[in-house]
Structures are given as C-alpha cells and as structure tokens.
C-alpha cells in the first residue's frame, strides 16, 4: 500500500516536472547567455529529494527528461537536459546528506544543484557544438556559476514553500512509512 502510494505520488511529481519543463522550454527564457535558464523543473527534483530522498529524485529527474524528449524530440536538447538533470540530482543528493545533518539549508542545496546543472550542460554542449574548451572555461562557466546563485535561490524558495505545504499535508507524509524518518527533523 505504501509502495503504491509512493509510486502514485512519484508519477504525479514526474508529470508536474514534465509540464514545467515543457512550459519553460516553450517560453525559451534565457538569461544573459545561451544555456542559462531558470531551471524551474529543478523545483520538482528538489522537492522529491526532500520528500522521498535521493533515489526517488533521480528517478523523477531522469523520467522527466525522457518524457520531455518524447514530446519535444530534439536529441540535442535531450542530451543537454539529461546530463544537467543527472549531475545536478547527484550533487543535490550529496548536499541532502548535509542538510539532514543540519549543516546547510534548502536554498544551498538548490544553488549547488543549479551550479551543477549549468556546469554539466555547458560541458556537454561544448562537446556537441564543439566550442573550444577555453571559451567555455573563460566565458560561459563563471557566468553560469554566477547565474546559478539567483536562480538557485528562486527554485530553492519555491521548493521550500512547496515542501512546507505538502509536508503539512498528512496524506503524503503519513503514508510514507519507512521514508518518514528522512524528513521528520
């Protein structure tokens, strides 16, 4: 029963992520430099990590990329978003450990995730469109790291409020059984 409930909620989260992801790429908002985005889908990934832990977060992130690929069908965007999603989820999972120990807050997880997301995207993009690596290191990476600060705060705030909202909703947290320990802090 618990497993099924979790599965349903994860499926819901994936759906949210796909919708947000699609809307964001359709809007085509880029900040200052190509590749810099708000990364709204990261909100859902972070929320999933906060609710169910790293592995569920990874599942949601990867599923989101695959389903968006089925919708948009652009292999270049797919390789970009997949690498960004996987790498940022890895980093956020790592940061989540420190979060649970009370060292850092949600915003910092989010910033680290955004920074990781941008870094991975730039590196993969440079392989695909073959930007020379020095252009990448000298120009894109520092700019994208800087942009990760405000965008990370933004997505972090969103994830934090969402977490409070749905965390208060017992229907989700109570039904989690074993997973509950992770966020009772």
């Amino acid at each position: 029963m618990h497993k099924t409930t979790k599965l349903v909620y994860l499926a819901l989260l994936v759906t949210f992520a796909v919708v947000i992801h699609t809307i964001e790429s359709a809007l085509g908002i880029t900040l200052l430099v190509p590749g810099a985005k708000l990364g709204l889908a990261n909100i859902i990934t972070l929320l999933t990590i906060l609710l169910y832990g790293f592995k569920s977060g990874m599942v949601v992130a990867v599923m989101r990329c695959f389903i968006s690929f089925l919708i948009v069908g652009n292999p270049f965007t797919f390789s970009l978003s997949l690498s960004g999603a996987v790498f940022s989820t890895l980093i956020m999972g790592l940061a989540f450990i420190f979060y649970k120990k009370g060292f850092i807050n949600v915003l910092t997880i989010s910033i680290l995730g955004a920074a990781a997301h941008n870094t991975a995207q730039v590196i993969v993009a440079s392989f695909v469109v073959q930007i020379p690596y020095y252009t990448l290191l000298s120009f894109y990476l520092p700019v994208l790291l800087l942009i990760a600060l405000p965008t990370g705060v933004f997505t972090g705030l969103a994830a934090m409020y969402l977490h409070r909202l749905v965390g208060k909703n017992m229907a989700i947290s109570r039904s989690m059984g074993g997973v509950k320990k992770e966020f009772t802090k």
Binding site: L107, S138, L141, P142, V143, L146
Partner: protein
C-alpha cells in the same frame, strides 16, 4: 536558518566564478596573440602583441619600421615606393595583415584560439 556553511558555500561559488572571470580577463591580455613578421616568405620573427616594441625589419629594398603599441600594430616607415603598408594603418585583430609587396614584408597578427572572424576581405 542560515548556518555558516551556507554562507561559506554561497561565497565560495561567487568567489570562484568572479575569480575565473578576473583571471581570464588578465589572461586575455596575454592570450598568446603574436605579431608574426616575415620577409620574402621567410620567417623573420615573432613578437608578443601586448609588449610595446619598434622593429626595424630588413626587407629586400631596405628598412620597414613596425610599431607595436597598446595591442595594435602599424608600419610607420618603409623603403618602398607605394607606401600601401603605411596607409593600411593600425591592425589589432588576429588574422589581420599588413603587407608591403615591394619590400616583401608581411606583418600578421596570429592567435592560437578560434577567432570570431576567420578571414578578412578587402
């Protein structure tokens, strides 16, 4: 809510990014842009673009004086009848050239990195 670790991480990301930017800005001043001089299709010498310099290049007809200043290059004096090299005036972008046909002198700015402009047509 904010611990010092949060603070540390935020600051270090900002410092890392700004540091790389600053470092690269410093480096771009010495980004390996060079002034290549050749006489009669033979290499004469290579000089850094960022070091002010005046070169007295011995061409086939006499001296061609090349001035490197503020990251720009020009020919100020040349032992040739047409002076096209002097009229070319300053160049500063990689792949730009100054040519003195009669004196067989070619001054070219080179760079290892991929440039915005590959070639110039005039």
């Amino acid at each position: 809510m904010f611990s010092r670790y949060d603070f540390l991480i935020w600051i270090s990301i900002a410092i890392l990014a700004l540091g790389v930017m600053f470092f690269n800005q410093q480096m771009s001043a010495y980004s390996g842009e060079e002034v290549q001089v050749s006489v009669n299709n033979e290499k004469y010498g290579v000089f850094p673009l960022q070091e002010d310099n005046v070169l007295e290049v011995e061409g086939v007809n006499g001296i061609t004086r090349v001035e490197i200043s503020d990251g720009r290059v020009r020919v100020t004096h040349s032992a040739c009848p047409d002076k096209i090299c002097i009229y070319t005036s300053w160049i500063h972008r990689p792949n730009q050239t100054i040519v003195c046909l009669p004196n067989r002198v070619v001054v070219k700015i080179t760079s290892e990195s991929q440039q915005d402009i590959d070639l110039y047509t005039n």
